[in-house]
Amino acid sequence: MPKKELETANRPDNTAFTQQRLPAWQPILSAGIVIPGFVLIGLAFIGIGVALFLTSRNITVLEMDYTGVETTSDCYKCSAGTLPNCVCNLYFTLNETFPGTVYFYYGLSNYFQSYRKFGASRDDNQLSGDTYYFTSPLAVCTPYQYDVNNNPIVPCGISANSMFNDTFNLYQLVNGSKTVPLDGRGIAWWSDYNIKFRNPTSDPLRNAFNGTVKPPFWSKPVFELDLTDKSNNGFLNQDFLVWMRRAALPNFRKLYRRITGPDYASGLPPGNYTIEIAYNYPVMSFNGRKKVVLSNVSWMGGKNDFLGVAYLVVGSLCIVMSMVMLIVYAKFKFPDDV
């Protein structure tokens, strides 16, 4: 017997793998699958498209530019940027109820937060509360790494320095003006607020920032961003977090507040409103635009006609294609002979 084994010592293994006989699934685009498949996909897409389109239609959006380009605008006086602490008002009227929870956004146009240097110029170590980087911020933060006196800037970098600092108050004009309460809690991402950004552990907070200076554009240091709420300060300031989540495109909106006050929880009733704007953030020099946007949302997010329309178009094209394929198939059947 050993001799026989020796003779076949080189015989390759006879397994499905080595002999390339693994069981396999081999899809073939046969008419019986493709044509009904296209019809089904088409119908499904049209269905989704209609649903999306209707949903999107039901979302109300109110968008108002307050840059102050036109001389008629109340904010025109502020747009030049010459008046310190300039405040202007934006009036609007609702003819019917603005339903649902209303979200208050600010929007910027022609603003390149997506520029590489803009995004890169920040120190995530600093922002996660590592005090070592308070004294020596990363070099990527230049030109906002150190100030002229060589004091480290905290938070350093272009991203933080350019933080949006217009503030808004909303009033309903009924029997004088009635403040619509704006809720600034929970407008940042959960992961940003709870993990990514950390304040240094020191009490009071300001002690940790000894020897550092605020970014040059800021009027207040980072630990005094919200004087009304102590916990909303430092790197965990909600507005700061929102700003630091960098926009991907030059036209963007960021959430400013939610309107959750008891009278307005289910929407803004019809009537006249005014937004009081503390106009601090200059955009005219680079032809930028500032907006406020009021919007409600649905299960699929904000208003977006594109998605619904796209689904409808793709679905219809599928149906058309299936028709074409059916005709072609009926005329020229697969030749079966080889």
Binding site: T8, A9, N10, R11, P12, N14, T18, Q20, L22, A24, Q26, P27, I28, L29, F38, I41, Y103, N110, F112, Q113, S114, R116, F118, S128, P143, W189, S191, I195, R245, R246, A247, A248, L249, P250, N251, R253, K254, L255, R258, S285, F286, S295, V297, W299, M300, G301, G302, N304, F306, L307, A310, C318, M321, V324, Y329, F332, F334, P335, D336, V338
Partner: protein, 1190 residues
């Protein structure tokens, strides 16, 4: 005369002094060491890295790495390129190291063979230590270690026998003879050690059949020629020992000089890939320039005023915008690096390695009898196996087994050899057919098989004609017998045909036992009978017959003759006419089966007549003038009035399945040329039995001119004949003439079948530069091309001719050292393994044991490899374009600032981890058509030959598709999310979310495409989903999500906050309905159009593959249905394929007794005749050693 003491000069002639090392060392001749490996332990790292960085892609990545270290332009951290680069380098280095190790092992095996070298005393030395000028001793059946000059041997007259199969493929024995002066040295070690002759000879060259030199010894000069040389690669046979002096060693031996340079073979896909990589570089630079210009403009128009928030680094500088553009250019070169496929080469190599393993593992290419599996020795050529257009095949040992088998015979009008069943039907002879029992004969050869027992019965009945038939076979030949032990006979035949016939006679009870110059001893049915050998009328090409004249113990003188049937039939006694007709019929039958036939006849000689004839023969042999002619006339005179005995049919045993394989490969539009060292007749015979030549062919052209003009004339007329005839026949059919508007199309569509046979000496002329085009044109018009008597270098030249002029992929297949040059020259070299010699296998790219496996290698493995590789490349380029170009579109929205769309980790792992495995799985396991159908429809091989599946056009298509996909990938999410808001009102259009969403879109889209994709021209879906594909595809998807979530997890962030800034993004995005809706939409938009187009295409213009696939699917539903290839029928009825494959016989050597060791004279023949015989012999014996005429 002067000689050159320096090796720096080109060696013009060689001076070697025996046993004088100091003298020989002055010339720095190559020693006998052979090295084919490239590295050693210390040089490996530097040399290998140097080689690897010569690859454009690798060098590029090195430059990229340096660029990334410059902070101003580093748009990506350096890890992103380092990780893939290191992985690629390591994988390649490991592979190179393993390859080189195996080369080293095989070198070692050859270098460490033992040989006996005379260094004062005989001592064992390794081959590699043998030096020029050494005297070495060879023993029987040993390989000759170097090119040596024969000094002395164990045989008389300093003769020795060698087999040169390794050199020229001829298996018959050749004689070499030492100079008389040196053969007198014998085995005397002392004398040999004192031998101090000096040889002055030609410089190393590759001419196997020429050698020119002079031996200076004891003050005399002796001319040396090839007849005194034993070349490396020969095997010593029938000679106990011999001594020789090494003239050329190692790489300077004729064998090695014939091997040609080892050149790295590269496939056409390789070359295409390199071109494409260069184009991609060009594309990359263009993109970089466009984006850099964009950046300059943006900085000028927007950035200048946006400095409030985004200050310029050198605000004073006027040229800042331009400088920023310049930096951006480099930044984009870094970002867009993923378009240059760094992992391309390594993936391609992994795929090829996998395919090679599939070849090694293939049980259907394993030859059980010799325990030899197929072996892919080169792992870089697999896909080219799917594009072969020309096969150049050796004959002996490749198409044939080089075994001659006595198959059938016709004796006195009865045929023997066919087997019939009980109903009288002919039975196909197979392995299982019962063999005839030869146990009655103790001297029979066990290996001999015969299936028709009626012949044994006839011989047992002692039928006189049957007895005479075998007696003739036992007597009329020039075979030498060797009897080591009692009854253990070994025949040394000059040609395998003769051996087969003598063996047949042996088994049927007429055993040729021994011979002396004057006698032949047979054992006829157990009793010893000694015949006196009176004359051998030897074979030559003109006579095409040989005869012996013997006297049996009864005193009867008989002439036995065997030869080509036409020749014999002319010399028969008129009384034999009836028998001749019957035998002739039988011969037709035999020839029709492709057997090599001989007719046998005898004649009883009148004693007086014979003695008178013998006297005249003696006379004729002593005259110098016209001796040949006079001898021929005398032979002619006595070989008349013969009585026909019958005919033999010998099968030059083809390897199993050769005709079927050739038929199948021909159907796959592969042209097969046979290049053989054999004679014209033998080659043609095999041509007929392989079905390459057929009787129904319109014309078989034989080119055998001896001058260039003749050859040209013959080739021209053949070409005109073909073109002329076809044109005439086509003009009748008007539609067809329109089709054949140009010659190249015309060439393809010639309906008539022609064959071209070129003789070696004509080929030498035909391969001259001015004739080679004519040769090529003519040859390509013919269905079959056979070149015979071809030297190894000519084989290579023919291959080279086709390779360079036809732009087609060539494959050479052979088994011997004479095929090495052709195997090296062809795009793909295949060696037949399991034979004695290893040279061909060592030089080959693929090796297996049987010619028939070639069909599987090409039609199954080759086709799959090509198909898979093309799919892989298409897909690879596509995925890289789709991935990378998103950055281009994003450039318009980020101020052309080289901002990446993706997470840096995604870019790092993209090529190596995320996308490599599914693509690899496709490249390894995909099968469009299963193996049975690959065999059944050889037409499926066509796309590979036409290079349809991946070419520049396909590359443009895949680039275009990549661009479209990247456009959709960017703008669908853009449309959906530009002002996107989460369902809880939080914004969603931030850069990180965008990055994750696009990456995920891309990824899922890629996988959907992977499942369902289609392309506009050819079906490039993954056709074939095995468990491994499923594992890799779904595994990769799972790995993607796992890594995505892990990279953006809380844990990693808390350790390296600045390396993993994307924390939480995936969780946030993937929880959104709208994200999934967009993924669905993007996928549909990317996949569906292609699918529709593909469907329409299959419907309107189905390819053969589509049809076969549909059939395959249908037949699977019906259950397996066996459908064998029609067995190829031989229809040839060609005559006179006679079984003499050697040229001039051994007659002279035998009768002169030169090759007899001991001369025993058992019987004393009549004195007069003996004296006559002796005189004849002396007169005939050639002066086999010539004294130097000076």
């Amino acid at each position: 005369h002067s000689f050159f003491p320096s090796c720096l000069l080109i060696e013009e002639e060689r001076h070697v002094r025996a046993n004088d090392r100091n003298y020989n060392d002055k010339f720095f001749y190559a020693d006998n060491h052979i090295k084919t490996s490239k590295y050693n332990v210390f040089t490996f790292l530097p040399i290998n890295l140097f080689e690897q960085f010569q690859r454009v892609a690798n060098a590029y990545f090195l430059v990229l790495l340096i660029l990334q270290l410059i902070p101003e332009i580093s748009s990506l951290p350096w890890v992103t390129t380092t990780v893939p680069l290191v992985m690629v380098l390591v994988i390649t280095a490991v592979k190179d190291a393993t390859d080189d190790y195996f080369r080293y092992k095989s070198d070692q095996q050859v270098n460490n063979r033992q040989s006996q070298v005379l260094r004062g005393v005989l001592q064992n030395e390794k081959w590699m230590n043998v030096r020029v000028g050494d005297i070495i001793k060879l023993e029987n059946n040993q390989f000759v270690a170097a090119d040596i000059l024969l000094l002395s041997s164990s045989e008389p007259y300093g003769l020795c026998y060698i087999e040169t199969a390794e050199l020229d493929g001829e298996t018959n024995l050749k004689v070499r003879q030492a100079l008389t002066v040196t053969s007198e040295l014998g085995a005397d070690i002392l004398k040999l050690a004192e031998f101090n002759g000096e040889v002055i000879c030609e410089a190393p060259n590759n001419k196997l059949d020429k050698f020119k030199g002079t031996l200076y010894w004891r003050g005399s000069k002796f001319p040396l020629d090839n007849e005194k040389m034993l070349l490396r690669g020969c095997v010593l046979r029938n000679t106990d020992w011999c001594f020789g002096m090494v003239i050329f060693a190692g790489l300077q031996t004729k064998l090695m000089q014939n091997c040609g340079r080892t050149t790295l073979k590269r496939t056409s896909i390789d070359k295409l890939m390199n071109t494409l990589v260069l184009w991609i570089f060009g594309f990359l630079v263009c993109m970089g320039v466009i984006l850099a210009i964009g950046n300059t403009i943006w900085e000028q128009e927007v950035g200048r005023s946006f400095q409030v928030y985004l200050p310029w680094e050198r605000p004073v500088s006027n040229n800042n915008a331009v400088f920023s553009g310049f930096l951006t250019f480099w930044s984009y070169i870094i970002i867009l690096n993923t378009v240059v496929p760094i992992s391309l080469y390594v993936s391609v190599e992994v795929i090829r390695l996998g395919h090679s393993y599939f070849i090694n593992w293939d049980g259907k290419m394993y030859y059980g009898q010799k325990d030899t599996p197929a072996e892919a020795r080169t792992t870089t050529l697999n896909e080219e196996l799917g594009q072969v257009e020309f096969i150049f095949s050796d004959k002996t040992g490749t198409l044939t087994q080089n075994i001659m088998v006595f198959n059938k015979c016709s004796i006195n009008g009865n045929t023997y050899g066919d087997v019939y069943d009980e109903f009288g039907h002919k039975v196909e002879v197979s392995e299982r057919t019962a063999c005839v029992d030869f146990s009655f004969n103790p001297l029979s050869d066990r290996k001999f098989t015969f299936h028709d027992s009626s012949l044994v019965e006839a011989i047992k009945m002692e039928e006189p004609s049957v007895q005479e038939f075998f007696r003739l076979l036992a007597l009329c030949h020039t075979v030498m017998s060797e009897e080591k032990n009692e009854g253990d006979l070994l025949y040394q035949a000059q040609s395998p045909d003769e051996g087969a016939l003598v063996s047949a006679a042996r088994n049927f009870g007429f055993v040729f036992r021994s011979r002396t110059p004057e006698t032949i001893t047979l054992y006829e049915m157990g009793t010893a009978v000694t015949y006196q050998l009176l004359a051998i009328l030897d074979f030559n090409n003109v006579r095409k017959r040989m005869s012996v004249i013997v006297r049996n113990p009864a005193g009867q003188t008989k002439l036995y003759c065997k030869g080509a049937d036409t020749i014999i039939f002319d010399r028969l006694d008129p009384s034999n006419e009836d028998l001749m007709d019957t035998t002739s019929e039988h011969l037709n039958e035999f020839a029709g089966e492709g057997l090599r036939t001989l007719a046998l006849a005898y004649k009883v000689l009148d004693r007086d007549f014979f003695e008178e004839w013998m006297t005249r023969l003696l006379l004729a042999s002593t005259v110098m003038e016209n001796r040949e002619q006079r001898l021929a006339d005398l032979y002619e005179e006595i070989e008349t009035g013969l009585l026909l005995l019958g005919a033999t049919a010998v099968e030059d045993k083809l390897q199993e399945g050769v005709p079927e394989t050739i038929a199948c490969l021909t159907l796959a539009n592969i042209k097969i040329w046979v290049l053989t060292g054999d004679k014209l007749e033998t080659a043609m015979n095999i041509g007929y039995s392989c079905n390459m030549l057929r009787d129904d062919m319109n014309e078989v052209f034989i080119i055998s001119g001896h001058t260039a003009a003749e050859v040209q004339q013959q080739l021209r007329s053949a070409r005109e004949h073909i073109l002329g005839l076809s044109r005439v026949s086509n003009t009748a059919d008007e539609e067809k003439t329109e089709m054949f508007s140009n010659d190249s199309v015309f060439e393809e569509t010639i309906i008539a079948e022609y064959a071209l046979i070129v003789n070696g000496h004509s080929l030498a002329h035909a391969l001259e530069p001015e004739l080679e085009q004519v040769l090529l044109e003519t040859a390509c018009l013919c269905k079959t091309v056979i070149c015979c008597r071809v030297t190894p270098m000519q084989k290579a030249q023919v291959v080279e001719l086709v390779k360079t002029n036809k732009m087609a992929v060539t494959l050479a297949i052979g088994d011997g050292a004479n095929d090495v040059s052709m195997i090296r020259t062809a795009h793909i070299g295949v060696g037949i393994s399991g034979q004695e010699g290893m040279q061909a296998v060592l030089a080959s790219d693929y090796s297996f044991a049987q010619f028939r496996y070639l069909q599987r290698l090409l039609l199954v493995h080759g086709r799959w490899s090509y198909f898979r590789m093309c799919n892989f490349l298409f897909y690879f380029f596509y995925k890289n374009f789709a991935f990378t170009l998103v950055h281009f579109w994003f450039g318009f929205f980020c101020g052309f600032s080289a901002q990446t769309v993706y997470d840096q980790w995604f870019i790092t792992l993209f090529n190596i981890v995320y996308t490599s495995l599914p693509v690899l799985a496709m490249g390894l396991f995909d099968q469009d058509v299963n193996e049975a159908n690959s065999h059944r429809y050889p037409g499926l091989y066509r796309p590979g030959q036409l290079n349809l599946l991946f070419n520049k056009r396909q590359f443009f298509l895949c680039t275009l598709q990549g661009i479209v996909t990247s456009f959709l990938l960017f703008f669908v999410p853009y449309g959906a999310f530009s002002l996107g808001v989460r369902a809880d009102g939080l914004h969603l259009s931030d850069q990180q979310s965008f990055a994750v969403t696009i990456a995920t879109f891309y990824f899922i889209c890629l996988f959907y495409c992977f499942c369902l994709r289609s392309c506009y021209c050819i079906g490039l879906d993954t056709y074939y989903w095995t468990a491994v594909n499923h594992l890799f595809v779904w595994g990769s998807l799972a790995v993607y999500f796992a890594i995505l979530l892990a990279m953006q997890s809380d844990g990693l962030f808390s350790i390296f906050p600045s390396q993993f800034p994307y924390i939480g993004t995936a969780r946030s995005c993937l929880a959104q309905w709208s994200v999934w809706l967009v993924i669905l939409l993007t996928t549909a938009v990317c996949v569906l159009p292609g699918m529709a187009v593909r469907f329409l295409k299959t419907d309107l213009y189905p390819t053969l593959t589509d049809k076969v696939r549909r059939l395959q699917k249908a037949s699977r539903k019906q259950g397996p249905r066996e459908q064998n290839l029609r067995r190829v029928r031989r229809t040839s009825s060609r005559r006179s394929g006679y079984a003499f494959s050697h040229q001039q016989g051994y007659g002279e050597l035998i009768t002169s007794g030169k090759n007899m060791k001991v001369v025993h004279l058992h019987l004393a023949p009549s004195d007069k005749v003996r004296a006559l015989c002796k005189q004849v012999r002396d007169g005939l014996a050639p002066t086999s050693e010539e004294r130097a005429p000076f």
